[in-house]
Symmetry: C2
Subunit: 206 residues, 2 copies
Amino acid sequence: MARRAAALEMAILGVISQGPLHGYELRKRLVPVLGLITAISYGALYPTLRTLVSRGLLVEKDVTQSEVYPKRNRIVYDLTDAGQARLAELVADVGTSSADDDMFPVRIAMFGYASPETRLRVLQGRRRRLEDRLDQMRDNLVKGRERLDAYTLELQQHGLDALEREVAWLGDMIDRERSGGFAPPQPPDLGTLKPRSTRPKLEPEN
Amino acid sequence: MARRAAALEMAILGVISQGPLHGYELRKRLVPVLGLITAISYGALYPTLRTLVSRGLLVEKDVTQSEVYPKRNRIVYDLTDAGQARLAELVADVGTSSADDDMFPVRIAMFGYASPETRLRVLQGRRRRLEDRLDQMRDNLVKGRERLDAYTLELQQHGLDALEREVAWLGDMIDRERSGGFAPPQPPDLGTLKPRSTRPKLEPEN
DNA sequence: GTTAGCATGTAAGGAGTTACATGATTTT
DNA sequence: AAAATCATGTAACTCCTTACATGCTAAC
């Protein structure tokens, strides 16, 4: 069930879980979470928001006036209980399809909503699948080394190196998770739309 | 015009330029070129092939019998002159849109079809754009230091490191291209490439 | 005699983008 | 007075995947 890609869905639920938001502001906050160069388009965002409302995961909290432009209507969305549950489900899911390449970074960004056990399980599952892919790539490289030209081989080798680094990074994350290295169990409450508040600052680990 | 994504188009033209092929075999050879985990689906491949024929870039060379299964019909595709020209155009193009993230690896794989000057120009253009993106990511990280939780920050930092490595790799490629390092038709020495040491399969991970 | 591989295709649908459309407000 | 930013939305299109449909051949 629910084998959709859902990277955007998880990102939206995750960001809104930190505080109610309207679409325009949400879009900007999705940039670091989705790891995109370009922000997601409104043509994708607004219809998705309404879909999430119709599925009962979000509510249109209210239509407020902007503090900046008092006559501008903004539709503010907030998480429902079902939305909270759905977010937890999405974060805890260790996917096996290739759609999880898109999902994984978003899942990490939402890791504050998962238990330490879940986090460890997700990280280990991801590492395992990347190791399998590494094996497959090495295999391809060995098989193709007479058929492929120097540029293609260099490209493959570079991809392999990058994947190895990814696996090593996951190893570090796992070690750190085990030793309780990621202090804050919950992400900070961002309050409302005000950019500045009295929220606790996070200390980077090292 | 040429404003489509065209990663698949370039890959198809590139692989077929190395020798006429039918779809089923082509699909397998596209795996290393496109850098995919899963092979491209037939539902994408076959319609694209016919589109390329209708655009005059490919011809259905003949319908041969399979050597393996003599009663199996195979449609063998070959490049036209227009197809060759289109391939050269695609490889030489230094794109500026985000679609070029998909295009670039394919372009590298087809680098043998570009002049040394073109190759240098493409590599330098790519490096420059990634450096711009790096600046932007650093900016985002500084701005988000207080708003984002530890996991999101770690993810961002990891992405930044990966991008830095990518830029460094491009630097190596540029140096090597300048000193004629890719000139010899022989594939590079694969001495460092060893079959993977056996990983314990179901061992509880560290 | 069933599973796997060879070989080509279509239909439906998912998940996004671009371009368009509208209008208010602030800054230059 | 023009440009930039705020804010929401729709329509058309792109490019892909999944699932289906067909039928042959090899190997276990």
